[in-house]
């Protein structure tokens, strides 16, 4: 087979056929679906969840992850935090002419492995090739379908005193990717937290009551996602700075560059708001999973009227947290 993607791989002819057969079907398995213009799949639920996400990460391979793993885990997590069980994925590739087919195989293998791990099937796909210089390597879009099981889900009925839990350390993914770009001039021993959380979150929903909402704090970080919850449901939420789980390496890089870990992206973390009397049980369940071993309570709902997120400093003062405004840039000194 050719070593690099050419425009002919996207023109629908013989090379397209070979690419689909030898790379995609080889990894994803289900060759029958490729015989038709649409995949026919069975669903046994009265309500489904649908989500879509596009992945444009640079570099495409990073410590403990790749754009492929991310494209599956990211969409699976969007379904999982919505309380749905992920069942099917579709994927669309935009590939730059000249992209190495060996790298494409690696990406597709990562996708297949992550799909297998999560129990989701990749049932439809599309490939487009653009001229060199018109894209940066490869972009992937995945659309996910999940099913809701009866009597399992998030209540969205918040009470004062509800606990805010985060399933592990924050900022790992953003810093790992930044370091992997090789622009920091320092070596940072941090790996991405990129992981599918559906099995862990299913366990939480199945074995506890009182989960109000779950979200995955990806772009914009923990603070931005919490601000969205606070505003969307008109809640006053307070988190404690000292309780925030931040690895010392992440803290160090943030300190150096003037970044705030609260606003750095995560790709394998969940925020869970839960009734106060269930918080310990949720923490215990999360900690049974490797991706939830550092789960902690970071704050609580203190009111239901202002739509604000507050941070309590170690000194006991409080300050308002807002959404990330613009891209974070490294500072001068």
């Amino acid at each position: 087979m050719e070593k690099y993607i050419s425009l002919a791989h996207g023109d629908g002819g013989e090379l397209s056929h070979r690419l689909i057969r030898d790379v995609f079907i080889e990894a994803f398995g289900d060759g029958n679906a490729a015989m038709f213009d649409a995949a026919s799949v069975a669903i046994s639920a009265s309500k489904i969840a649908v989500t879509t996400d596009s992945f444009v990460i640079k570099p495409i391979f990073f410590p403990e992850g790749s754009i492929g793993k991310l494209a599956v885990a990211g969409t699976v997590n969007d379904l999982a935090v919505s309380g749905a069980k992920p069942v099917y994925l579709t994927c669309g590739f935009v590939i730059e002419e000249g992209f190495p087919i060996a790298d494409l195989r690696r990406i597709v293998t990562d996708m297949a492995n992550e799909a297998r791990k999560t129990g989701v099937k990749i049932v439809a796909g599309d490939t487009k090739v653009v001229e060199r210089g018109c894209a940066d390597g490869v972009y992937i879009n995945t659309t996910g379908i999940g099913v809701y099981e009866a009597n399992i889900g998030c209540s969205l009925e918040f009470e004062e005193g509800d606990a805010i839990i985060v399933s592990g350390t924050i900022g790992d993914h953003g810093i790992a990717v930044l370091a992997a770009r090789g622009e920091l001039g320092i070596t940072v021993p941090i790996t991405s937290d990129c992981a599918s959380l559906n099995r862990m979150l299913e366990m939480v929903l199945q074995h506890t009551e009182g989960v109000r909402i779950m979200r995955d704090p990806t772009r914009g970080g923990l603070a931005t996602t919490l601000v969205e919850i606070a505003e969307d449901f008109n809640l006053t939420m307070k988190i404690n700075e000292l309780d925030l789980p931040v690895k010392k390496e992440v803290h160090g890089v943030c300190d150096l560059l003037g970044f705030d870990p609260l606003y750095i992206a995560n790709e394998g973390k969940a925020i869970i708001v839960v009734a106060a009397n269930e918080k310990d049980k949720v923490i215990d369940l999360l900690r049974e999973f490797p991706e939830g071993k550092d789960a902690v309570v970071i704050g609580s709902i203190i009111g239901k009227d202002k739509g604000q997120l507050l941070l309590e400093t170690p000194l006991g003062s409080k300050r308002l947290l807002t959404r990330l405004s613009g891209t974070m840039f490294p500072r001068i000194c």
Binding site: L178, E183, K248, T313, P314, F329, R331, C333
Partner: protein, 370 residues
């Protein structure tokens, strides 16, 4: 959270320390009938004081005034406009610290120019600019050299590296600023009544404790060299009030583990080798003689100002009061634009957009709308 941070911001240490600061501030108030007032010279201090909550916790007892210590903020508008105009030239790669990207020029920002297709690169490690030049021999690579004493040594390192590798297409647009001349300006102007300065720990590593002696000898005002973590900030303020109460001006080194008496001599050698004093224009102040450093004439090949000319007109006039904020004359929220026309998403002045700007610190950490 991180153990080091836990120690430096351990509530069992910090809260009693804050109470002790309040106690001694009240003693000052009983003695002098007013709050003690200190200026934090450095933008990183401004950010740390706001982020850690120190400023809020002490707001009723201690007047902490932000000074002219944010390098982007103190750069005058004509100079900002010149750097943005520089990016318009053909066949150029502009390398910069991130702070500069969203600083409003009279017509646009560097970010606008980047979106419009200009090659403008934010570097995490500034010395990479030399590598960029090496990799792009057919382009002129220009680094925007904005900064105080903490940053200037890095600029000389870049020149040293370019010199060693004989890179001909690399230059720096120098608009550096020095701490001493601006402190002298503020003290000579006498517009702000101060009981002392909180002096930045990192600048002091370069300058050394003794470099501030002029504050005592010529102005009879104290300075306390202070770190950036919660406990360090509080103990620096405590020490400042203690000095003010004693009536004896002195320089106190509250960061002795890393700040020596005479500073970093290797860095001084580098500065002496490549740089010479020059006049610099400051936002809201005007030109202060010998308040910056420029490349010596023998390094003209690395001096972007000698190699490129840019035409900029009169800067656009706005109602932005950054100039007064920088001089400590008004607090950010006293500017009529603050939080309304001027906002981090749509900044009118640099103080709202720089990572060390007083308005950004105030907006991000100190709005009391809850």
């Amino acid at each position: 959270m991180l153990e080091i941070l836990k120690q430096s911001s351990n509530p069992e240490i910090c809260r009693p320390l804050a109470e002790a600061v309040i106690e001694i501030a009240l003693e000052f108030n009983r003695k002098f009938g007013r709050k003690p007032a200190f200026m934090e010279v450095c933008g990183s201090h401004t950010m740390s004081l706001a982020r850690t909550g120190v400023k809020q916790v002490l707001k009723n007892e201690v007047n902490l005034i932000s000074g002219p210590g944010c390098p982007v903020c103190v750069t005058d508008q004509r100079s900002i406009d010149a750097m943005i105009a520089l990016a318009e030239g053909e066949n150029r790669i502009i390398c910069t610290f991130g702070d500069m990207m969203r600083v409003p020029g009279s017509a646009k920002t560097l970010l606008d120019s980047k979106i419009a297709g200009k090659d403008i690169r934010v570097l995490y490690s500034p010395v990479d600019a030399v590598r960029v030049a090496e990799e792009n021999p057919d382009k002129e690579v220009i680094f925007l050299g904005v900064g105080f004493e903490t940053t200037i040594p890095i600029l000389t390192l870049m020149i040293g590296e370019a010199e060693k590798r004989m890179i001909g297409n690399f230059s720096i647009w120098m608009t550096t600023k020095l701490v001493e001349p601006v402190l002298r300006f503020l003290l000579d102007a006498g517009e702000v009544n101060l009981d002392g300065f909180l002096l930045p720990g990192h600048v002091s590593i370069v300058l050394g404790e003794e470099s501030y002696q002029y504050l005592v000898d010529e102005y009879q005002i104290s300075g306390v060299i202070t770190g950036f973590e919660t406990a360090e900030l509080l103990s620096g303020i405590y020490k400042s009030i203690e000095l003010a109460l004693s009536g004896q001006a002195a320089i106190s080194n509250n960061h002795p583990a890393i700040v020596s008496k005479t500073g970093n001599q290797v860095i001084h050698q580098w500065l002496d080798k490549y740089l010479t004093n020059c006049d610099e224009a400051w936002r809201g102040i005007g030109v202060i003689p010998n308040s910056g450093l420029d490349l010596k004439p023998e390094y003209d090949q690395f001096n972007a100002k000698k190699r490129f000319t840019v035409d900029v007109g009169e800067p656009r006039k706005t109602k932005c009061r950054c100039g007064e904020v920088i001089r400590g004359l008004i607090a950010p929220n006293e500017c009529p634009l603050f939080g309304k026309a001027c906002h981090p998403i749509n900044p009118v002045g640099p103080c709202m957009v720089s990572a060390e700007g007083s308005c950004a610190a105030y907006y991000q950490y100190m709005r009391e709308s809850f």
